[in-house]
Amino acid sequence: MFLQQLLNGLTAGAVYALIALGYTMIYGILGLINFAQGEIYMCGAFVAVLLLGTGQVNFYVAFAGGMAAAALLGVVLERVAFRPLRGAHPLVPLISAIGASIFLQSLALLLFGPLDRSFPIQFSFSTITIAGLPVSSLQGAILGAALGLMALLVIFVRYTRYGKAIVACALDRDTARLMGINVDRMVSLTFFIGSALSGAAGIMMAIYYNATYPRMGLLPGLKAFSAAVLGGVGSIPGAICGGLLLGVAESLGAAYISSGYKDAFAFAILILVLLIRPKGILGGRGD
């Protein structure tokens, strides 16, 4: 039971972590909370579902298409809703992001209707037993894919020229410019990558719960945001830890305390942590 909950938590947590990575990377480079991250997640899921619905493409193409659409949306969003507001009071882009979030949600509502859509392909997943624990291979696949994407991201950031450039921009924008790094381009790239990850998360969750709907991004988005803050906004390992931690806490809390308050655990933990460490677990020490 406990291990099962733990695994459930890890699966959800891995998805939160993927979205949280988007939040954290964008915050790292722009100091901005992209409230519309949940809608990007939703967009990824919808595009994948629609692509599969046409019956023309196979699953992997649809998956890639969903990620690409989400990535593109992220880049456009940055151009339209954030770039013109750079340099303004931090509140301004925050509210702009909320506006964008409302806009995208209602756009999806308009385009796809309020009803859930089930995922077009039925996967025949087996349940295997590992060490006496029944593990759905779907869970395993999601967890594996999410961890794989995270690993890819870490490799990208650590070992590629552009990855390092993104980190450099996040650390010290002026000095990065002195290296000849075009910060605007790096910001776009960050939005591209962060949004692609969120899109992937959306597709995974659409498969996991077999449901795609316009408001699907709201709660995972908020929780991922909490996860990012929990881990210390701007820190990539922080976002991963925060996401996993939150998923597990939520799953265990729902199982052992009250399922009705499932969604509250994430925020309760967050508030408590922030009161003790105002900059998150892995964030810099508050002063």
């Binding site: 915050y27 909370i33 339209v80 809703a81 013109p84 507001l85 340099g87 303004a88 009071h89 931090p90 509140l91 301004v92 882009p93 925050l94 509210i95 702009s96 909320i98 506006g99 964008a100 979030s101 409302i102 806009f103 995208l104 949600q105 209602s106 756009l107 509502l109 308009l110 709201l218 908020l222 945001f225 909490s226 803050v229 906004v233 009250s258 009705g260 308050y261 969604d263 509250a264 994430a266 925020f267 309760a268 967050l270 508030i271 922030l274 009161l275 105002p278 900059k279």
Partner: protein, 289 residues
Amino acid sequence: MIAYLLHLAILGGIYVILAISLNLIVGYAGQVSLGHAAFYGIGAYVSALTSLLCHFPFPLAALSAIIFTGACGLLLGLPTLRLKEDYLAIVTLGFGVIVDLVFLNLDITGGPDGLPGIPAPSFLGVSFRSPWLYLVLTLMVVLLTLGLTYRLVHSYHGRALRAIRDHEVTAQVMGINTPAYKVAIFTLAAALAGLAGSLYAHYITFINPESFGLHTSILALCMVVLGGMGSLAGAVVGALALTVLPEILREFRAYQDLVYGGLLVGLLIWRPQGLLGRGKLSLKFISRE
């Protein structure tokens, strides 16, 4: 038709109070709150429960709501106001979600079914069941709130608040006790939101958690931003506009939120000071660092 207009007017009045209270936090103390609907909801539930369970008359119920929400505001404000913008935003947002879930899960609040049969106020033998009378009551409260906040922001204390908003550190070295002011204004804003919730509960006579979720918090924030942060008239205009606008867009109901969202982003880009706001939101004087 008239009944419908009356309904809109009353709701508009309630939103005005809500927007003004949030504007105190955002526009005058320079803090962000993404969970303001929680106070609004707490006020509504407290007022409803005290009248349902303790049979408090409306004024007393409303007063209980004010005091209780004020206390909640104080309790939340004391530890969290030292957090910076983004963090405060997420904490208030979390607070809103948690409160929403509490409404949804407690027995006393009726869970998702909500509380029906909240009595309409009666006052010195006059029942305010009639929408006309309720409108009068609402307007009175609105005027009172406006008068109070107007006095406040144009007083000695208002100056201190604006100083804090513009430059907290500087306000401190000018001898302004900034933590006290921030907590006080947060408490006051919570209490006012509670008052708005109380008015709402007794007008609609049925409440459920749906009315007090994140959506409402964001709606309130939009009202403030639309009207212009730090402008009382702006809060009024913003609240009324966002009450009326959906009705005008009724035929295009589906597009309503689309317009909202687009409007918000567009407004920030083209007129960052809001419709009636003074000065720029960007709180100029961008420092050297």
